[in-house]
Structure formats: C-alpha cells, structure tokens
Amino acid sequence: MSKFSRRDFVKIVGSTAAATAIGLPAFTAAAGSKKVVIVGGGTAGATAAKYIKRADSSVDVTVIEPNKDYYTCYLSNEVLGGGRKMESIRFGYDGLKGHGVNVVHDMVTAIDPAAKKVTTAGGDTFDYDRCIVAPGISLRYDTIEGYSKEAAEIMPHAWKAGAQTALLRKQLEAMPDGGTVVMAPPPNPFRCPPGPYERACQIGMYLKANKPKSKILIIDAKAKFSKQKLFMQAFEKHYAGMIEWQSVEAAGGVKSVDGAAMTVTTGNGDTIKGDVINIIPAQHAGTIAKTAGLTDDSGWCPIDGKTFESTIHKGIHVIGDAAIQAPLPKSGYAANSEAKVTAAAVVALLNGKDPGDPSWVNTCYSIVGPDDAISVAMVYNLVDGKVAKVDGSGGLTPMDSSPSDRAREVQYAYSWFNNITSDIFG
C-alpha cells in the first residue's frame, strides 16, 4: 500500500464521519428556498451567514447591515496607541457575497415575528423562515448627566470602532505632554470586559514614548474588573506613575460631564479636568433588539441556551453582544462561537432535524505592553438548558508567566485577529 493511499484512506474516513456527524445535507438537492434574514453584519451576524452557507448552501441567506465597512472593536485599541492603522481593522462584505450571501446595505426598522417579516428604512420587506438578530450594543446616554450623542463628539466613547476611534486618536495626538487622559469604564454588563484596561495600556504605550509627563486617570463605575490582577501588574510594570485606577468605591464613578469645560464630576463630588476624556457609557442591546421587543427589563435579550432562540419571540435567534449569554462574555470570540452554534442549529431546524448539543469557546487577548500580552480562555457547554463553563477548563495567563511566553502571547494575539477576521469576513 503506498503512502498516498494510506493517507487518503484516513482522509476519506475522516471527512465522511464529519459530514455524517453534522448531518450535512450532502445529497439533498435544492430544497426550495428556506430563507434566513440576519439583522446586523458584525462579528456574530457575518459569521452566522457564512457558516449557514457552509453547512447548507441551499438556504437563502440575507444579511442586512447599514454600513459598507465594518471596523472591528478588537485591536482598535492598538489604533489608539498608534501601533496599527485604521485600515487594518476595516473589513468589507465581498467575502460573504462570495459565499452566496445576499448583502443588503440598509437599516432594519421593524421585525414582525408573527408575519415573519423584516422591514428596512429603505422601505423594503424581507420574509424569513428564521431570523437572526445580531445588532451588537447601543450606548446609553441616560446614565451620565451631560453625556449625549453630541457630547460623544467631544468626549468620544470609541466603543464602536470607526469614526469614534479616529476621533479619540486625533485628540491623543493633539494633547500636550503633561496632559491628563480621563477614562470612564462602564458598569457591567458591557462589550469587551477587558477592553477599557487594555485601552489604558495602549494609550500608555503611546504617551510613554511621546508625552511621558502625561497621566491616565481611570474613574471606574465598578469595584473590580476583568483580568484585574494582570492589568494592575502591567500598570505597575510598564506605566508606574502614569496610569491610576480609581474603583467606584474610592471615587464613586463619573456622575456627570461638562463638554464645554472638559471636566468630569465624580460620585464623590470631585470635579476633574481632562485634556482628553474617554467616556465609555453603560450599554444595552442594539436599538433594533428593543424596537422588535426582544429585550427584557435588563435591556438585553433573553435566549434559549441551546439555540440562542429568543425566549420572547419564536423563530428569532439573538447572538453576539445583544444576547444574555453569560457566563459567555460579550467578546468577539464568543460572538463568533455563538454564531457557529446558532448557524448549525438554524440549519438543523430548517431541515426538520434536532439541533445537536452546542460547544462554545472564548479566547481573549489584551496587549498590555511591548512584547507583553495576557489572555483569558474558557470552554463552555450546555448544562440543564443553560450555557455553563466546563469545570476545570480555562483561566488566565499566570501572573508569573515568563517574558518569552508573554511575547508569544502578543504574536498569538495578532494571529487570533488575522484568523478570526478571515473566519468572519473571508
């Protein structure tokens, strides 16, 4: 037996098993036109579209997304730090179109779960057999006095990447040496839990190299935060005397802002002037989720753990940051993972099959200094119908991991970015 045929034998057995396992309709011809409409073409929505097509190309998949370009929130902090160009976090929809997905650039204004119809601002309606809603987050302008959509043009949140990221970067570039950057991270739950603290590190890297007399003051709405010990270690190691974190227990968080005076006032009543002020406000599910009645009192969307189908409206699945997916975090990796599980479930349901048991992963890197990155990872499964952490899995980069491992984690962070974005948009 030649080496070639041995290898082929294993490959054929392997691929046959894989096709059988997922119940791929390898032999089902065009089964009519089962329609899936996906509201939102971000990480979750775009991944779901691609993976539905991969599993069953006969499904008619339409993604409705207002923007022609998508800027990833992940690694946008490195744009703020100056280590990365905006262009490198911009992605388009040619990849999805290449997979046979219909991409419509419009804004969904209504979803009718009874009639199974989606309506857009452009006046079009789309019928669906199953709908996937992935609108990400909306920023709340009702929790900090003086903060508003207009004020965000002066004190950017930069929590949806793109113009806001560019604006904050411009402000950092214009800031004098010796200036103060005030950052206000939001209360839980919010998109990208380690994001604000990685941002402090990235801004710190820029300031240390260019404006070393400057300060970063983090006035937090929380008493603790993601990867806290590792971030505090990084603040001390790389940015001693530059980054200061104030717990809500110490300062009371930011209660109000004044855009004209460029000041924030804390819960304790202190008014602080900033040269650059980054307010990351509290968040809810993206606006359309609320409009469509998919949110509960928390402002987020309750879902069934197995399929992420809304527990409010049948036939609509909510994935990504908008869903109540805890213990999964509101992260890019989790959104990508949720989308694949839901894509498989949607294909199974459309073909009259039982969705299999899900498995999710989250991996999240934060680049905290030159050649220094930290990570958190976890595997999740379904227990009693709910998303659960797999016991014994996951956890953080060890506090005492070697400099060479920290440097490797930077390279793995970049690899993560390249691979996940090509998995989503490629």
Binding site: A18, D357, S404
Partner: protein
C-alpha cells in the same frame, strides 16, 4: 504500526457515528469549528504565529491535547483550553481536523537558509517528518508550511525541556547547531517552494 493507526481511525469514526445517533454530545464538526478563531477556518492559520492544525493525524491531535491537559507539553493558552474536553470529544474533534486539507502558507523565508535546511532535512528529519513534514501518518505533527515563529517556539520548548522530545529527535537535534536547526525550520516554513 499501520494496524494501530487503522484501528484508531475506525475507532474514532465509530465514536462519532455513535454520538450522532444518540445526539448526546457535540458533534466533531461543532467542536472543531471552535478552533477557527485562532487556528483559522478549517484549521488553516493565516499567521503570523499560531500553527495550522489542518490535516494532522487524529491520533496526533488527541495526544497533543492530552499533553496540554497534563502540562507535559508547555503552552501559553492551549493547556487552559484542552482541559475543557473529554477524551471522546477530543477524538471526535480530531477526526474532523484530520479531514481538513493541509494548509499552505506564503511567508517570508531566507532562500539560503531554506537551501541549507533542505540538506539538514534530508539528513536528520526525514525519517519521522516524511514528505517535507506533510505526512500525517507519521503522527509527528504537520510541519510542512507551518509558520516560522511557531516552529522556532517548538524547538525552544524542546530544548528547554518544556516538551518531551522523542529519543530519535533528541539524538538528531544534539548533532545540529542552532543555525542548522533554524535552517531546517526555514525549510519547513518555506514550503511549498516557489
């Protein structure tokens, strides 16, 4: 040797079909698709460092994951992730990964080093990493066209004792200078040669 591999392959298939019939566990496809965020769609990494996993022997993937679980194989993050899976899940996942075609990268390599590495490869590596490191049945990991930083990390870990080196490899490595090892890595990374 061949019999063991065949049994392993058939055993893996049987487990997967069993799992499908009972619908009591995530499918191999479901499990393997979660790898893409770091290792690329269908296990083909876009780099710059994370290795492609596509096309590895299922046995190799399972062994690697178990070594990550126990800590016998050093890692930054894989140990934490590997601990999330049962043996059956690892086998189901590995069968799918094994079915993916080997990924070809295009990366910058030093042509002189690749040429030097080709000779070293023929002398020292080919017995266990046949067909330029692309033969899955060697169960020695696909080295063909892997990202250079990862190949270098792997050698660093072997040499530091952070990962157990098979006897044959230890003997081969002992005879090579750092420069020669780097050249061999460049040879693997530089596949397919243009």
């Amino acid at each position: 040797m061949f019999r063991r591999k065949t049994v392993a392959a058939l055993l893996g298939t049987g487990l997967m079909l069993g799992a499908t019939a009972l619908s009591a566990a995530p499918t191999g496809q479901m499990l393997a698709d979660t790898c893409a965020g770091c290792h690329g769609t269908d296990g083909g990494s876009t780099g710059p460092a994370t290795p492609s996993i596509a096309g590895n022997a299922a046995v190799y993937i399972v062994d690697a994951m178990k070594a990550y679980q126990s800590g016998d194989r050093h890692s930054t993050i894989m140990g934490r992730i590997a601990k999330g899976y049962t043996d059956e899940e690892l086998e189901a996942m590995a069968e799918v990964i094994a079915s993916w075609p080997i990924h070809e990268t295009s990366q910058q390599v030093d042509a002189d080093k690749v040429a030097m590495g080709a000779e070293i490869y023929e002398d020292a590596c080919t017995k266990c990493h046949d067909e330029k490191g692309s033969l899955a049945d060697d169960e020695a990991g696909i080295l063909y066209s892997q990202w250079l930083p990862w190949l270098n990390y792997s050698i660093e870990d072997f040499k530091a004792g952070h990962r157990e080196m098979p006897k044959k490899m230890r003997k081969a490595i002992e005879k090579l200078s750092d420069e020669q090892i780097e050249a061999a890595n460049q040879f693997f990374a530089g596949q397919p040669q243009k």
